[in-house]
Structure formats: C-alpha cells, structure tokens
Amino acid sequence: MSVTQAQFRTAMLDPNAAVPDGIVNPDGAQASKRFNVYRNNVAVSLSDALEAAFPVVRKLVGDEFFRAMAGVYLRKHPPKSPLMMFYGDAMPQFLRRFEPAKSVPYLPDIAAAELALRHAYHAADATPAPPDALGAIAPDALMGTRLRIAPAVQTVTSNFPIHAIYRANTQSDAPKPVMQAEAVLITRSGFDPDIHPINAAAAKAISLLQNGQTLGEAIATADDTLDLGSVLGLLLAQGAITEIY
C-alpha cells in the first residue's frame, strides 16, 4: 500500500496515468482531482519559468504554441537542479529537433541568445580593465598578449540575422531584419546585459580569447572577415576585458 516517490513522479508527469493506490481523500476514497493539484502546479510552474526565460521565442511563436511546446519540453527535460534561473538550458537543442517549430528555423538560435542573456545577468561581477589598457602594451608584444574576459561575456553564432530578429522583437523602432548570417556578443557593464551584433569571425576570436589564447593565435586562425581592432574596441568599451597579461 505504500506509494513510492517514483510512482508519484510518474503519475504526476502523465495526466492520463492512474493515481497511485494509497493516495486518498479524507474519506479514504481515491483522490484524483486532489492529485491533479500537483500535476497542475508542476506543469504551470515549469511552463511559467520557461515563459519568463524565453520572452522573444514566445513572441515569435505565439502564446498558444509556446504553452504547448513548453508542455512537451518540461516532460522531456524536467529541471536538473533547483536553480530555476537557469531552467531551459536544453531549449536550443530541443527546438532543433521539435518538428512543429521547423518552419521557424532561427528559433533555436534565438533561444540560445536568450539563455546567454540570462547567464550573463547572473554571472559573477568583474572589474573592467581601463579603456586605454591595450594602448599601454608595446606593439611588438601585442600578438603574445592574452586577455581575461569578464564572466558575463557570451557569444552566439547563427546562419540567421539573430541580432536583427532579437531587436525587432524587443524594440518598437527597430528595422526589419534582412536575411544574413549574424552572431551576437553579450556583455554586462552594469546589471543589465547588452546584446551587440558581430560576425562569426569575431565570435570565434572572442571564444579563443576566452579560452586563454593569445591575440596572435586568435588572428592566425581567422579569415579576412575578422576586424580584430573593432572587436577589441567593443570589448574594452563594454568593460568586457578585466585583465591584459
């Protein structure tokens, strides 16, 4: 007659499953509507968390589609930790395989950008290097220099104009997106993250620098679409470099 938590969990996540024997109302009878309180609480609270986490994805697909999609996601990917601030980490991969969303091919990359914004929001604080810090390095030492990048910094690359799409869905006066590949750089100079358009070469260079490669190494693997000067200028201006060494 004892109800295990595995039985409770299985019945809770499946609205069509029978309520486990041994769960009763005060008269000792079966208590399915009472059990539904937990089914509903779990589904609604996880779905609400996803809505809060992916407002632009939601705007792109509409409320009804988002709710239905969240219902599938939360059963396939229940949270793996009690830190709800990071719930939805598997959303980009999930959306890539989610057949009903195939007609919106940029959706997974928008989800990745929204995830990155959330991670940036909660990232550790950092003291930026002064804006003229790179100027102090001797020109012949520059290529051997490494940068420590602030913990909030994130990049997302895409075959779609994700920055333009993000802007068009978060700002009223934004221009209409034009079909092109875009990457985004996310920085946080105060408490609210900022999202900047960059190209794929810049995103790759920033990733290499984040991994401790030198400026020279970052340039060596790049093609001629990399404008390292403007990448460094943007990083410095946004307080995204904490140390030059």
Partner: protein
C-alpha cells in the same frame, strides 16, 4: 561569526517575502516592516543585480533565507551540490534565520519545482530526521522546518503531522516554521480542525509564522479543495486562526507571503499593517 549589527534571530515583528519590484518602495518607507524573507534559490547565481540588491537589503534588514529546493522529504540522498550552494549563501549573508519545507521536490536528479507530500510513518520520520541532521551539520546552524499544505492523504500514514514535526524537533534540535494558512488549507481539505492542529503543534519550537492567500476549488465529490497559491490576500478565517495561535504562542516573527500575481507595494503594506496589529494584541 555573528554580525554584531544584526540580531541572531528574527524579531517578533511583521516581515514580507521580498520581491525585487518592491525594492525602492521598501527602502523609501518600510513602515512597520521588521525583516525580509528571500527564497534561497533566487540568490544562488554568481553575481549581478540579485546579489547586489541582497547585500544592500541585508545592511538594513534582518534576512530570513527560505529554501524551496532542498527536497528534505526525498527518498533519495540530498543534493550535495545544492547543500554546498546553501552553505555558501548562509555563510556570506549570515541571515537571521534559515528554513525549509517538510516536502520533497527532487527524484532521480529531476527537480519538479513544487512541494510534494510524503506519508508520515516511522520510516519516513527516520529519513527526514537524517536529512535535517545533514543539513544542520553542513550549513552549520539550526534550521526551521515548515508544515506543508495538504490536498490528499496517504493511506499508509500512521503518525499525525503534528506528532511527526514534534518528533523531528526532539531528534534533530530543529525549530519549526508554522504556516497558519497551510494549517487552514490542510484542515479544510482533510476535514480536520485547524484549532486542534494548533493545540497539538509544538509551539515552543516555532521560530517564525507564515501567512498567505489561497485559491478555492472543489474536488469531484463537491468537497472544498483549497489550494495554497500565495496569490491573494490573507482571508479572515486565517487571520482569526493567527490570533488563536498567537494567544497561545506569544509574539513571533510574522511573514506575509505573496508569490504569484504579486500586487503593488501598498497592497502588501496593508497586510503588513494588519499583521502588526495582530502582534500588538499579544505584545505586553
């Protein structure tokens, strides 16, 4: 080391569940507000605005850290990573109180973001006591354990909830967080007496009282089914049950919880004023 500027326990005054949108209003005019409660899990990021705001708030108010994700009632082991995060938060913040729930929320490494019920038997008592000991040993302080809202019962239960909680305080030295709304919700749903629950509760161990709102529904037999939503004002019968409790327990730290459909600050300020009045009735 206890911070000398803060009391080691919460004051017997009204407190509120902190919401970031109320930051400016609280800082500008707290009224009778004596302390703040935060949900531990919302402050486990590495930095940014949540942590900065919490540091500011803690300079001004005693803080209660209320966990919602530890899953103390789980059949499985406690999540060691989560315990370590809790220990970290409690050690830098040095809160006036730390509390969690008599419930489970994690199974097979999956977290369900809800407070799920457990049967009350000698076996579950052993398990919960062991988990509380582990928490208190790891975090390095006494914790308060909150009574749940019940919607259903387990046929296998052999102990009353009040006996179960009392036994836990005796075995582990933990204190209790008495949620008066939960008492009302459970008593209505399980057709028992809320006053009898209070009479049987280990009031000496109570370090904090919670008050919140609930939703009203019915089960398939037409019996009332109250749902602990924290999305409304506290109803009059719950205020009456609070008065009944305070008359027996004496003044306690008293929290207004409002977690969904959170209103503008003046609505919460009214609830805080009412809590302050309830306390003044029993304060000599």
């Amino acid at each position: 080391m206890l911070d000398a500027t803060h009391p080691a326990s919460l004051p017997a005054r009204p407190g509120v569940g902190y919401k970031p949108q109320h930051y400016s209003a609280i800082m500008a005019d707290p009224g009778p507000l004596g302390w703040l409660e935060i949900h531990a899990e919302n402050y486990m990021g590495d930095g940014g605005r949540p942590i900065a705001q919490l540091r500011h708030l803690a300079e001004r108010f005693p803080i209660s850290v209320h966990g919602v994700g530890l899953s103390i009632g789980a059949e499985g082991d406690l999540d060691k990573d989560h315990l370590a995060r809790l220990k970290h938060l409690v050690s830098w913040l040095n809160p006036a109180s730390f509390s969690e729930h008599l419930a489970w929320s994690t199974h097979d490494s999956h977290f369900f973001n809800d407070l799920l019920p457990l049967p009350y038997t000698p076996k579950t008592l052993d398990r919960v006591a062991a988990h509380i000991n582990e928490v208190q040993d790891t975090v390095g302080r006494r914790m308060l354990l909150e009574n749940p809202s019940s919607y259903l019962a387990f046929a296998e239960s052999t102990l009353s909830e009040t006996d179960f909680l009392r036994e836990l305080t005796q075995r582990t030295g933990c204190g209790l967080l008495l949620d008066v709304n939960n008492v009302f919700v459970s008593a209505t749903n399980l057709k028992t007496s809320p006053q009898a629950y209070i009479e049987n509760f280990a009031l000496d161990a109570v370090g904090e009282i919670h008050l919140g709102g609930h939703d009203e529904d019915e089960d398939e037999t037409g019996a009332p089914l109250l749902i602990d939503s924290h999305g409304k004002a506290v109803v009059d019968p719950v205020w009456a049950l609070l008065d009944y409790t305070l008359a027996k327990s004496g003044p306690k730290p008293l929290l207004i919880e409002w977690d969904t459909d959170v209103p503008e600050w003046p609505v919460l300020a009214e609830e805080i004023t009412r809590a302050d009045k309830a306390l003044s009735l029993v304060t000599a």
